[in-house]
Amino acid sequence: MRPFAYARAATLDDALEAARDAGTVVLAGGTELLNWLRLGIAAPDRVLDITRIDGLDRIEQLAGGGLRIGALVRLNDVAADERVARDWPVLREAIHKSASAQLRNLATIGANLLQRTRCAYFRSEEPVPCNRRAPGSGCAARNGHDDRHALFGWTEECIATQPSDPAVALAALDARIVTRSAGGGRRIPVTEFHVLPADGVDRDTVLEPGELIEAIELDRPAPRSAYVKVRERESYEYALASAAATVELGEGGRIESARIALGSVAMRPWRLTEAEHRITRLAPVDPAVSAALDAALAQARPVPGSAYKLAIARGAARRALMTAAGVPS
C-alpha cells in the first residue's frame, strides 16, 4: 500500500468539495477500497472517509410507496429493514447472498454498486495485461482463462463482468441512483449506471469525478420478486451467473408485467427487456415463457470459456421468475 493521508468528512458538502481532487478517493465500507489499495488498483494520495456524514445512513419512505435508501446504509441493515423484506424481497435476497455477514456489516448499499470486476487478471497481485489496470496493455483473459467472463456486451478490450448482487436486484426493480456533485445532482437509472466496454474501459460507471452517490430510490413495491444466485459453493462466493425477477400477476394468475435482470454476464446487470414483453399475459408455466428466455439467451455472444454459462443464466432466470410467481420448482 502506498502511503496516503486520511481525513473524515463531516458533511456531504465537505466531501463533495474534497472529492473533486483527482488524488482523493472516497472510503465508505472499505470492503473494496482496502483491497484496491493493497493490489495497486487504486493508489491515491488521500483517502476521504465519508462514513460519519450524518443523514446518509437512513431509510425513508417515499410518497407513492417507494423507498429512499441512504448511500451509507450497510447492506445488512438494508436487508433487515422490514419494508425491504416485505415489499422488495429480491433486494433482501440479493444482499443476503452477497459476501459474508461480516462484510455486509461494513459494505454500504451505495458503494456496493461501485464494486469492480472479479476477473482474476484484473485482480492480479502483480500487473498482467489488463486494459482496466493499465490502459492499452491488452486483455489477458481474452486468450486466457475466460470461463468466468461475459455473455453480453464485451469487446476485445475487456470481457469481464460486473459482480454486484444488489445491483442485479436494483436493476430488476428499476431503481434510481441519486447523486450529488458540486454542481448539483441527478437521478440515474441503475440499468444505465454501469458503462459497457464498448463505451470505454477507462471507467466502470457514469459517475463523474467528484460525483457521489447519495441514495438509492425504489419505486412501487415488488412483493413478488426473487433472486437466484448460482455458484459452486453455497455461500460467500461470487456468482457464475445470477438472476433477479419481479412479476405482477393478474387475472387467472397470468403475468401482468415482469422484469428480469441477469448478473455476472456483462459489465452491467443485463435486463431481458424483450423477454419481459413477450411473457406478459402468459401463465408462468406456459412453455412460451421458457421459449422467451431461450430466445433472450440466444442473443448472447459468449467468449469461448463462458458458453456453459448460457444454460446457467437461463436456468437462473427461469427459476427466479417462477419463484417470484410462486410456482414451486
Binding site: P3, E125, E126, V128, G144, Y308
Partner: protein, 709 residues
Amino acid sequence: MTAGLGVPLPRQDGPAKVTGAARYASDHLAEGMLYGVLVGAPVPAGRLRGIDADAARDLPGVTHVLTHAEMPKLAAPPVPPAASARVPMQDDEIQYEGEPIAIVLAQTVEAAEHAASLVQADVEPAPFTPHPRGNRAGADVPRESGYLSGPTDAEHGDVERALARAPVHLDATYVQPSRHHNPMEPSATLAQWQDGTLAMVDATQWAYGVRIVMCALFGIAPDQVRVRSPHTGGAFGCKGLVWPHQIIAAAAAQITGRAVRVALSRAQMYSTVAYQPQMVQTVSLAASGDGRLAAIEHESINVTSASDDFVEYATMASQTTYAAAAIRVRQRVHRANVNLGTAMRAPVEGCGLWALGSAINELAAKLQIDPIELRLINHADVHPFTGQPWSSKRLRECYEQGARAFGWRRRPNEPERDGPWLVGQGMADCAMGTFRFPSSAHVRLYADGRAVILSGTQDIGTGIVTILTQIACGVLGLEPGLVSCEIGDTELPEAGPTFGSSSTMGVGAAVMAAAQDALAKLRERSGEELGATPGAGALSAAMRSAGIEELVGVGSFAPEDSPYALQTFGAIFVEVGFDPELGIIRLRRAVGRYSVGRIVNPRTARAQMLGGIVWGWGKATMEASRQDERLGRWLSKNLAGVALPVNADIPADVDVEFIDEVDEHAGPIGGKGLGELGATGVDAAVADAVFHATGRRIRELPITPDKLV
C-alpha cells in the same frame, strides 16, 4: 472426566485456542524485530540482470533490501527435510514466477509491504515450459531428487497375458488439478541469531526437520539451532518440509543481526510454498465376466518443477487395494516452470483412489454388479502386491455397516427427485498406507502427583496434546487435570514430523513407553508395588516415601520391519443433489465407516474424519488452482477466486463410525493413523453419485457446473 485410551476427552488446548491465548508463529514479536517481505520473480523463467532497490531502500522505516548479492553462500541441505535442493537467492536464475529474488526488511508492516512493491527487477526473460493442462504428452521418468521413496515402475504377475485374455476391459484417464493446501494460517517464521545460535519460531509440521536444514545450510551444530513451533495453524502438508521463506528469514536475521519475522501473504502461499500438483492418471482394468479382476495397469503423471522431481505415488493405490492377479504401475513427472509441489492431505492412495475407485465404479456399472459386490469379489485378503498378511483389516464390516447406515441396498436404479434436485448416491473405498517415524518423549513425575509430557512433536490441529495426555493418564492412572504437555520445541526430546497420519503411532508410543519407564523407575526406587494405573495418590506416596521430588521416564518408538502390511481402510457413501436447471451439486448426506485399529479419542477422531470428508468434498466439487499458461503464473492467488468449502456446504447428516478394533501389530497403542483416511475415496464416491444423478461420468476434477450443464 477420567482419561485413558478410548475416552472422548475434550481438547486440552481448548481454553488456549478459544480465548486467543494460543500463539502461532506470526503472533510472536521480538525486541527490535524487523518485518520481512519477500519479493518474487515477475516471470517464470529468465535471468536477473539487476535489481533496482533504491526507491525501496529510501522509504522511511526500511532498513535493508537483500538480494542474492547480499545473501551468504549456503550449503545444499538434504531433501527432505528441505523441499528443494535449490537454495533460494543464491544466483541470478529464475525458474518460476514468484521465486524469491529479494527480501525487504523494515520497522513496520506497512513500510515493508510498500517497499517490496517498489523493488524493480531487470530480467532477461527466457522461454519457459508452462504447467500442462491435463495432457499425457511430455512426461518423463522421474530423477532422484530426494522424493523416490519407491520404484517408479513396478509389476507383479503377468500383466500382458492377463490383459490379452480377459474378456472385459475398462480404460479411462482421470485428471485432478493442482490444488493448494490453503491452511488458514499462512506460513510464517521468526528468526533471530544470538552468539552464533539460531532461534526460530516457525509454523511447521516438523520442527526437527527445520533444525536439520538450518544446520546444513549454515554449517552449524544441532545445539546451535532451536526451533519452536507452539501451534501450527493448519498445514495439510505444506508446512511439512522447509521452503524458501524459512531459509531467507534465517539468512536475513544473520545478515542484519536483528530478529526477522517473515509472514507470507496468501498470494505468496500460492507461488513460493507448495501445492498438490496436477495428476493425470490412466487406469486399465481387465476382468472376467463375473467381475474378477485379472489385471490392473495404472500410470500417474504429476507436474513437478524445473529443479526437483517430486513424485506423488498415486499408483500405490493399485498395488494395495484389490486382489488382481497381475498389477503394473508407472510413475512419471511432467516438468514445468512452476514452483515445486508437495504432499497434501490424502497423498498417495488419496490421489490414486480417485482414479482407481472411479474405474472400479465404472466397471461395476458396465458389468451391472453392485459396486460393493464388485469390491467384495476382489477383496484383497492379503497385500495384493507383496502377499504379506495385513496387520488388521476389517473392510468387509465397513462395507456392511456403512451400507446399512446409508440404506445403500435401497439405492434406486433411477435418481429420485426432491423439488428441483435429482438425488444421486455413490460409494467408494477409502485407504491409506501407514507411515511411522521414530520418536521419543519424556514423562516427568512430580511428588505432588502431577506429570508433564515432553516431546518435540507439533500441534497442527490433530489433537495430539489431548491424545498424549490420555496415553500418559492411561498408564499412570492420573486425571487429565494433573497432566500437562510441552511440545513444539527442539529442546524437547526428538520427535518425527507431523505428517502421514503418524503421530499417535510414533509419539503416542514413545509417551506410553516414557510413562511406563517412569513407573518402572519409581517402582525400583521406592520399592512399592504400584500396580497398573496407580493414580496420583499412590504415585505421590511412592515418590515421597523414596524421597524423590521429580522423576523422568524416557521412552521412544522406532518402527521395526514387520512381516505384516499396515494400512487403514474404509468405505464412504455419499448422497448428492444435482439441480439440472442451475447445474449445481450439493452434498446431502454422507456415511463413513473406517477400520483403523484402536481409537484413542473418539471425539478428535470424529473431527478428523468429518474434516477429511469435507476436504474430499472440496476436492471433488470445487478446488482447483489454475496457471495461466501464457503468463506462467497462478491465477487467483487468493481465497476468492479459488473456492474452498464453507459451513453452508456441509449438511448435519455426516455419519462417521469406526469398527471396534485393536491392531496389535501396528504398535503398542493398537491404533493407526487416521488424519488422512477420511479424505480418501470421497472424490470417487461423489463422481459415482453424480453419475447416478445425471448419467454422466466426469473424469476430471473438480466436478463443477461447467461440466454438468
